[in-house]
């Protein structure tokens, strides 16, 4: 609470949201229900800080020396990560469009403040504005996979419903960002 109070005391510069959704509610939603999802292994493993995707809840480097350049030599993610079914133990998780995002879409190790500002910059969201991002986090099957990851993988502690609701609160509050000195990194 002390940390949150510090954040509020700094009065972050945000646009006006709809009546009744103050910036502090948006910041609280971001810190407690949005940021933890993005930095969870189900999301961060394919948004790593380096060039190698990560595997498992322990976030070990992907086997087979797979890296960001693998698709360019004829080894795309979809070689092993297929679209459906057969999602059994020890097999690659499957989803319709398993892929490796560009190097500027890092989630791993981002503080809440860093991530927040990153999400508001279309240069680091694949060109998505905030409304497109909201649609993405609600409907994209690869996002939804994070809450149905098959055996031996955990999901974020925040449910998908709560995550999407928090995202809307954050948007309605004007997408305010916390400051780095108000919270730690993960």
């Amino acid at each position: 609470m002390i940390l949150l109070s510090l954040a509020l005391a700094e009065e972050p510069e945000v646009g006006p949201g709809p009546p009744g959704v103050p910036p502090e509610a948006g910041i609280k939603a971001f810190e407690e229900q949005i940021w933890p999802v993005f930095v969870h292994p189900r999301c961060a493993n394919c948004h790593p800080a380096g060039d190698v995707p990560l595997q498992g809840d322990e976030q070990r480097p992907h086997t087979m020396e797979v890296d960001r350049d693998s698709p360019a030599v004829g080894l795309p993610c979809s070689t092993c990560h297929r679209t459906e079914g057969l999602d059994l133990p020890d097999r690659p998780p499957a989803n319709g469009h398993w892929s490796f995002p560009p190097a500027n879409q890092v989630f791993e190790g981002r503080t809440a403040a860093e991530l927040c500002n990153q999400l508001k910059d279309p240069e680091t969201t694949g060109g998505r504005d905030l409304e497109a991002l909201r649609h993405h986090v609600e409907h994209d099957t690869l996002v939804l996979y994070g809450w149905d990851p098959g055996p031996e993988r955990t999901s974020p502690a925040v449910s998908h419903v709560d995550f999407v609701a928090a995202f809307q609160v954050w948007l309605d509050a004007g997408a305010p960002c916390p400051t780095d000195d108000a919270q730690g990194s993960m």
Binding site: R82, G85, R91
Partner: protein, 151 residues
């Protein structure tokens, strides 16, 4: 369901969740594609779907749809693919079990990188395992195949 394999349409009554590997081997008697691990860890079962290398052991036949399947039996068309010719030239196989998958991955590599460096070969082929350790000959053969394709 109908599958297009090596340019020919095949009918199969396989269950939708059957891995493509077993449809090829058990239902259609195309046994050039090998079972190695069953979990996309070794690459022995590699085929192409619309030119993209995929592990047939983790690909339910239901997701193939109208995609063109290419297997080791058809990669060379009516003859041998330059990669197959290079494999023979360099006596790559020892026991041979993984080699159809190695060749299919090598063909995908050369489509993406017609003149691959050692690093490209490592990156593209690192998910195909050979217990006989034929990797040095695989590297030589891929480079030879690249030259053959140029010619």
């Amino acid at each position: 369901m109908k599958l297009t394999i090596n340019g020919q349409v095949h009918e199969t009554e396989a269950e939708p969740g059957t891995p493509l590997l077993w449809v090829l081997r058990d239902h259609l008697a195309m046994t050039g594609t090998k079972f190695g691990c069953g979990m996309a860890q070794c690459g022995a079962c590699t085929v192409h779907l619309n030119g993209v290398a995929v592990r047939s052991c983790v690909t339910p036949v239901s997701e193939v749809g109208e995609a063109a399947i290419t297997t080791i039996e058809g990669i060379g068309g009516e003859g041998l693919h330059p990669v197959q010719e290079a494999w023979i030239e360099h006596s790559v196989p020892q026991c041979g079990w993984c080699q159809s998958g190695q060749i299919m991955s090598a063909c995908a590599l050369l489509e993406a990188r017609p003149d691959p460096s050692d690093e490209d070969i490592d990156a593209a082929m690192s998910a195909n395992i050979c217990r006989c350790g034929t990797y040095p000959r695989i590297r030589k053969a891929i480079k030879a195949a690249a030259k053959r394709r140029e010619g």
